[in-house]
């Protein structure tokens, strides 16, 4: 459920060099072209969509490394 929403957001804000539907949930998003600038847009869109705020403890390169790690983080923040 969250994964589908995250894929839509990633597609709109990730500025990836390949289509999101070609990526697996555990594909490396940095290898797919995710930049630090695009991460900002991605994070803001995720915060708006799920009405959450990313605390500093999860703000790392790893959190945005794959669709799976984003989903895990969102899941934790919603709990």
């Amino acid at each position: 459920m969250h994964i589908d929403k995250i894929r839509v957001i990633l597609s709109a804000h990730g500025r990836l060099t390949q289509p999101v539907d070609k990526l697996d949930d555990n594909s490396d998003l940095y290898q797919a072209g995710l930049t630090s600038l695009a991460t900002v847009g991605l994070m803001l869109a995720l915060e708006d969509e799920f009405d959450i705020e990313f605390p500093d403890s999860v703000l790392s390169r790893k959190t945005f490394g794959s669709i799976e790690t984003i989903a895990d983080t969102v899941e934790d923040l919603l709990d």
Binding site: V40, S60, K62
Partner: protein
């Protein structure tokens, strides 16, 4: 990942005395010639090798001195009192040593290499930037082209500091010819395995002894020399923090030497007129405060990084807050370097502006301007500009 162990360093004070000794007896004596001719400081490195300092960061169990980040930074600072270029080269070499010690010890080739580094006191250069990537260390065009356990590689490097003087070269490349630009590995080559074709010289304002010319590197070696660990991990855990901490430390050494000159000048004024403190003593007080701030910043970063190495949580190094703080250390220290040396010159006046004066600060101020341009502060600030939108300092 690598975790720090506490080893016996009781001899460090003695070692520092020895570094000061080679500094005043050898390194300082050749600093002007190195600067004028923009040549590699051979005398400095013969002296540094005589103290086994090339392997100072290698753990004791592998034959090195087992010094920690704080101690390596201190050595960089002390070397910079005598010659900025020597300190810069030493720092860049040590960054590569740290990358090998932290990240390559699972690979037999690198394990054996460390023994050679200890016994032969080898000098390692690096080629991490590439023409066309816009200074982005996390992107490579060149790739490892493998065939029957061997590989070939060609890299257009805009800068390889002391490339021609180095024994070995660490470079980054794509893992294989099909890998995306961001899938990088580190490769260690020995001198006979690579050729350097010069594409640009190094006739610069400062740090002239680092001889940071551009080259096309062509290499051919065994696939065993490729470290499979993703380069992004090496960069975030070691190269990025270690570089900015040791650079800032050596810049503080340049500042300390400039302030020493300023103090000599003020002392002479006081001697001439003991009844009235000279106006320049106020400036000396002010600039000493700036150096204190700079050193405090460095200490805080060393403390944070050392604690992270002891805990050994590899994810912590990619935290945006940590990246931002390490970037800020580089930005603020390089700006303070210009400010402090400039103020020391204001105190010393024309005698610091002369090349032929005992109180000359000409080389210091020329070196100082390099610090904010090399790994350009604006690019780092731009990177921070994206990180700070997300990261909040702890409340």
């Amino acid at each position: 990942m690598f975790t720090l162990s506490s080893e016996d360093n009781t001899n460090f004070t003695e070692l520092l005395k020895a570094v000061h000794k080679i500094g005043s007896k050898t390194i300082a004596k050749h600093a002007q010639d190195v600067d004028q001719k923009a040549r590699f400081p051979v005398e400095s490195f013969a002296a540094i090798k005589s103290l086994n300092l090339m392997s100072a960061y290698v753990p004791v169990k592998l034959g090195g001195m087992g010094l920690n980040v704080e101690q390596i930074s201190k050595i960089c600072e002390v070397l910079a009192l005598y010659c900025g270029s020597t300190a810069m080269i030493y720092s860049m070499h040590k960054i590569q040593v740290a990358c090998i010690v932290h990240h390559c010890m699972q690979v037999d080739y690198f394990k054996n290499y460390v023994k050679k580094l200890v016994s032969e006191q080898r000098l390692i250069a690096s080629a991490t930037t590439e023409i066309g990537t816009g200074g982005d260390l996390l992107s490579s065009f060149c790739a490892v082209k493998e065939s029957d356990g061997q590989f070939t590689l060609t890299k257009k490097a805009p800068v390889i500091s002391y490339g021609e003087a180095a024994d070995d070269l660490m470079l980054t490349a794509r893992r294989n010819i099909d890998a995306p630009n961001s899938d990088q590995v580190g490769i260690l080559l020995t001198k006979e395995q690579f050729q350097l074709e010069p594409i640009s010289g190094w006739d610069t304002l400062g740090f002239r002894g680092t001889c940071s010319s551009g080259f096309i590197v062509t290499a051919s070696a065994s696939i065993a020399q490729v470290n499979p660990v993703p380069f992004s991990e090496i960069l975030s855990q070691t190269m990025h923090p270690f570089a900015h901490i040791t650079w800032a430390s050596l810049w503080s050494g340049i500042c300390t030497d400039a302030i020493d000159n300023a103090r000599k000048f003020v002392k002479n004024s006081v001697r001439r007129n003991p009844d009235m403190p000279p106006i320049s003593s106020i400036r000396l007080a002010e600039v000493t405060g700036s150096l204190n701030n700079m050193r405090n910043n460095i200490s805080a970063s060393i403390k944070e990084y050392t604690e992270m190495l002891i805990i050994g949580d590899s994810d912590a190094f990619t935290n945006f807050g940590f990246s931002t703080r390490i970037n800020n250390l580089k930005i603020s220290s390089s700006q303070m370097l210009i400010d402090i040396v400039g103020k020391a010159m204001m105190i010393c006046g024309i005698s610091s502006y002369r090349n032929d004066s005992e109180l000359s600060l000409c080389r210091h101020i020329r070196d100082a301007y390099g610090a904010s341009l090399m790994v350009n502060n604006d690019r780092i600030l731009m990177h921070n500009a994206t990180l700070v939108v997300m990261h909040k300092e702890a409340r």
